[in-house]
């Protein structure tokens, strides 16, 4: 575990924190066997991109902003970038580009106001935020409370020393525009426990449309079947012993309403996981708003998930 703290150079004063402002980096993988969630930015690629845009290492500590409402002032001049949700960004009232480096003068106010599409934005500042690391990460884990407290208005976050400017990031930030219309498709691989669903429930899982529930959070996106077809488990009277959970796991509890686990998911759980969302689609889950529509599309043939060591 790294104990090195980067040199502090200035501070970021949080004037308004919006409905949810968290310190996040790329999380604390590797501790799941002790019951520790991976945590970290809900869309790690968006944080990586923001960091590259300001010349940071990809794993530098940034801010995860829920639904805008953010207003911050840096005590030194800074290079910043905002990625993720399609939001209106301003410096002292002047519009700024999304997904590009922005120059922020000392004392100037950066705001992320209305979010037009999606839910979460990531803000990177050159030099990164300096925060104590717990198990190697400065991420706030909302399930277990590991890492820093959520950021409140009036907070003063320490900034690290910026590295010499790096060449601008080459990657094109992906747009969240596709999310504001129609239905988000999440590609899944069936398994490990798709055999717990009846054939009719597997069809219902793959064919109907779900709505995102308002109690979704960093632990998971909770879904409600719009066509009223709860996912009936074939083994209703059996209990599954606890087993390990991956990020993107689609769990079906007794209610039959599925839940897609995100970064703050528990390490183990006792309800069957019937499918896992492809890594490339996980960022969509970070942007789904309550009421948004979701469909699942399989990338694997049903019930092809099981094989034994004998037939390798």
């Amino acid at each position: 575990m790294s104990r090195r703290s980067p040199a502090v150079d200035g501070a970021l004063d949080v004037v308004r924190a919006g409905p949810g402002l968290l310190v996040e980096d790329l999380g604390r993988p590797g501790w799941a066997h002790l019951g520790v969630p991976p945590s970290g930015a809900l869309d790690p690629d968006a944080l990586r991109l923001a960091n590259r845009l300001v010349g940071n290492g990809e794993a530098a500590v940034g801010l995860e902003v829920l639904l805008g409402g953010l207003s911050v002032v840096a005590s030194r001049s800074a290079r910043v970038a905002v990625t993720g949700a399609d939001a209106s960004i301003e410096v002292d009232g002047r519009p700024q580009p999304w997904g590009e480096p922005i120059s922020l003068a000392a004392g100037a106010t950066l705001t992320i106001a209305a979010v037009r599409g999606g839910l979460r934005s990531w803000l990177a500042i050159d030099g990164g935020i300096v925060a104590p690391r717990v198990l190697g990460s400065a991420s706030t884990d909302t399930l277990t409370g590991l890492g820093p407290e959520p950021v409140r208005p009036g907070a003063r976050l320490r900034l690290g020393r910026a590295r010499p400017p790096a060449p601008p990031a080459a990657a094109v930030p992906r747009t969240t525009a596709g999310l504001v219309e129609s239905v988000a498709t999440l590609h899944v691989a069936l398994g490990p426990r798709d055999d717990w669903l009846t054939p009719a429930a597997t069809r219902a899982f793959l064919e109907q449309t779900f709505a995102v529930s308002s109690d979704s959070d960093r632990v998971g996106v909770r879904l409600e079947a719009l066509d009223g077809m709860a996912l009936e488990r074939g083994r209703r009277h059996e209990e599954l012993a606890s087993e390990g959970i991956v990020t993107g796991a689609v769990q079906v509890p007794g209610s039959g309403q599925p839940l897609v686990f995100l970064a703050d998911h528990p390490a183990t759980g006792g309800y069957p996981v019937v499918a896992v969302v492809d890594r490339v689609d996980l960022w969509r889950c970070a942007q789904l708003r309550p009421g948004d529509r979701v469909r699942f599309q399989t990338t694997s043939a049903p019930s092809a998930a099981v094989s034994s060591g004998k037939d390798r």
Binding site: G244, R279, G309
Partner: protein, 211 residues
Amino acid sequence: VTTEPIFRTAGADAVLVDLGSRERAAAAYRLARELVGRDELAARDIVPAATTVLVDGMSDVAAWRAALTAEAVDAAARQTADVAASDPVVIQVRYDGDDLAVVARAWGCSADDVVERHTTTAFTVAFCGFAPGFAYCESDPALPAVPRRDDPRPRVPAGSVALAADYCGVYPRPMPGGWQLIGTTDAVLFDPSRDRPALLAPGTVVRFEAR
């Protein structure tokens, strides 16, 4: 009868290895950790649970299949028996739990007998879950099963020593819980600043002592 582990797909870079029994899951976990420790195989997380081991953040499922065969797991299980004889972690307990009488009723004995039995049993940590450092400790032979409370407590104090099913666990922090409380300890179960953050990591042998 020796059955091969079942490898169940858990997305593109993880596999859930179903061992079918607690003993073989524990052995497979130990074997998997050793293989990664020796750089023979790679994985980001290896997560043991009741009868499964999740290998997460891996790219070579064929190599994992070749390594975690029934034969290899059974060989590891025989070694596990030797490890169990090693120095246990000892946890000092005040047997003052509110549910001691409930457990005594479930076991058909006195509260003193519960303490006697609990302090003379060697437990092994099967897996962690529920909260960082919350260990599911099992014993061989297993303790008689204890039902979970119908009405979980909204807040169980840190250090509570508790039973549910045939597992024993210690609450690392205050949190809601439905396990039956038999005592309390001052031991620090989880401290992320320690080299070994969890006092009771999977595979650890643990004994409880009355104080």
